[in-house]
């Protein structure tokens, strides 16, 4: 069979089976994948991988057989990798008995054996389950210019945009194969041309827009293109500090889930926009203006997918993508203020904050007062993936509220702004 990608002698030898039949199939898969997108060559990865598939979902049984084949061939990733959050946490996210049966016996019956497979293939640790692997506490933090084999759209867009690493929006398994080979096909966001902006987004709002709605608006407009955002630095400043990182994390996740954005540039803020300025914008770029009316229009367009649209909310998820250490403290303060305002001691709606295991460890160790306050408010802290938790017929029927545009997009969860969700969770309804 003739391939279009140019292969080095070593790569050709792997494809020819010199290092075994299984590795040859791994190589063939990536060559065909590269050919499909016009890649001309492979490029070496320079940092650890992040995998999207963290769940032993029974529907993927053939994938688990493939994993066994990789393990039997003694294949392992070049460096230890991280992976998305687990789908279940019975201790902190309570389930009904029917839900537990569906989760344990039907949906995620393969969870334990799948985690054993991940460990054999190079999983970093038992705590490496988060969508925010780039947090300092987790440690899978690439550098500017690193070449990555990652999947998980929110992590890819963060690494590309905020850090300036280079990674395509990969499918599950493809990222694992890249991590095993230590190579990825070079196309799209790995190239200078692919990182140029086809859209200029002009922010003309009266105040800093909600990150999750601004990201949604831009994602829906530009889809898979690269936007160059002007006018946001006047609200965020020109320093990527912890609060700005958190804003960009949530903004980026919404661009990626409401559209298919893999990279954005923020004028005067993100590294490539600072380095190249408007040179990174294509001459034929289109313009999208976001003002207060546009933010309102986009928010009002979100449908309420609950079967009973007047239902009282049963559960509240905050932290998709997982919260940062700073965000955990900020959310405790926000709930404290609202409880005081409503003269209450505890939240009415079962509220769950989600964050990476290592971020939770740090929060418990270094901010004991806030952690105890959180517990006293009746709020739970979990490292679960709310999206995977919601991805079953029973959980999907619950009246769940969230401030995550990603969770809103992929499930029946109802979107609330940050201010709205605190109010609703404390008072128990809209």
């Amino acid at each position: 069979m003739k391939y279009n990608m140019h292969l080095s002698p070593d790569e050709q030898a792997i494809l020819n089976g010199v290092k075994g039949e299984t590795l040859a199939k791994v190589m063939k898969t990536l060559v065909l994948y590269g050919d499909a997108f016009g890649a001309d060559k492979f490029i070496d990865t320079t940092a650890p991988a992040h995998l999207v598939t963290s769940f032993g979902i029974s529907v993927l049984k053939p994938v688990f057989s493939m994993m066994d084949e990789l393990i039997d061939a003694d294949l392992i990733t070049k460096e230890p990798f991280t992976v998305d959050p687990r789908p279940i946490d019975y201790e902190n996210v309570k389930c009904s008995l029917p839900e537990k049966i569906i989760f344990s016996k039907i949906m995620y019956g393969m969870q334990a054996p799948y985690e054993a497979q991940l460990t054999k293939l190079g999983l970093k640790s038992n705590k490496s389950f988060t969508c925010t692997c780039y947090m300092d506490e987790v440690g899978n933090t690439p550098k500017f210019g690193d070449i990555l084999s990652w999947a998980e759209s929110s992590a890819v867009v963060y690494a590309n945009s905020v850090i300036g690493a280079r990674c395509n929006r990969n499918s599950g398994i493809i990222e694992l194969f890249g991590a095993i080979l230590g190579k990825v096909p070079c196309f799209d966001l790995l190239t200078d041309e692919g990182r140029q902006s086809k859209w200029i987004v002009e922010i003309k709002t009266s105040s800093l827009p909600e990150a999750q709605i601004l990201g949604s608006a831009i994602g829906k407009k530009v889809m898979e293109d690269v936007p160059y955002v002007k006018g946001l630095d006047k609200f965020l400043g020109n320093d990527i500090n912890d609060n700005v990182k958190s804003y960009l994390k949530d903004f980026g996740a919404a661009t990626a889930s409401n559209g298919a954005v893999g990279l954005y540039h923020i004028e005067g803020l993100t590294p490539e926009a600072v380095a190249s300025g408007t040179d990174i914008i294509r001459s034929d770029a289109k313009v999208y203006v976001v003002d207060d009316a546009e933010i309102t229009r986009v928010k009002d367009s979100y449908p309420v997918m609950w079967k009973n649209k007047d239902a009282k909310p049963e559960r509240c998820f905050i932290g998709c993508p997982h919260l940062s250490y700073n965000q955990l403290g900020t959310w405790v303060d926000k709930f404290g203020m609202e409880l005081k305002l409503q003269n209450k001691k505890k939240v009415v709606v079962n509220t769950i904050f989600t964050a990476a295991p290592e971020v939770i460890d740090r929060f418990k160790a270094e901010n004991v007062k806030a952690y105890n306050t959180l517990l006293s408010y009746g709020i739970n802290l979990s490292a679960i993936c709310p999206l995977m938790y919601m991805n079953n017929p029973l959980a999907g029927k619950r009246a769940v509220i969230t401030n995550s545009n990603k969770l809103r997009t992929y499930t029946a969860a109802r979107y609330c702004t940050d201010d709205e969700i605190v109010k609703v969770a404390v008072q128990g309804g809209f």
Binding site: T29, P62, S65, S171, G172, I173, A260
Partner: protein
């Protein structure tokens, strides 16, 4: 009267089958999950958000669509339903293939004994012309003829 459209073979093959048409992006996980979980012998689309194909049989059919959308598990789901022998025979894309669908059809081609013939770049006119139940013939060079 038949009409032909020229696309690019991502996974080449020669096949004739019945068309099932989605004019919106197909959410792979939502579409295939229920039938695969229930170990059905045929896939009836379970995506309520896609009325074009909801509850229609996709096994052995030519699924005509713009692109796939949704979770990055999409590629693995396509690979899995192909392994289970309940996949569409062909996926015919009016637009360039997306990375999730590409991963799925390529994984199926390399790692299973069966495959999903995949042709992309067939153009908007293809998706406007083809209707449910029409006979679709795919040639090795990516030419799709609709009767």
């Amino acid at each position: 009267m038949s009409k032909s459209f020229k696309g690019r073979p991502v996974i080449a093959g020669q096949i004739s089958c019945e068309a099932v048409v989605s004019r919106q992006g197909v959410n792979t996980l939502a579409t295939f999950q229920k039938s695969a979980l229930m170990k059905k012998k045929e896939v009836l689309s379970s995506d309520q958000n896609n009325p074009d194909i909801f509850e229609k049989n996709l096994t052995g059919k030519a699924l005509c669509l713009p692109q796939t959308i949704g979770s990055t598990t999409g590629g693995m789901v396509l690979f899995s339903v192909c392994s289970l022998g309940i996949a569409p025979s062909a996926m015919l894309f009016s637009q360039p293939i997306d990375s999730l669908a590409a991963a799925g059809v390529i994984l199926a081609d390399v790692w299973t004994d069966s495959k999903i013939v995949a042709i992309d770049n067939l153009g908007d006119e293809f998706l406007q012309y083809v209707k449910d139940g029409m006979k679709v013939s795919v040639a090795q060079d990516g030419t799709v003829t609709v009767d």
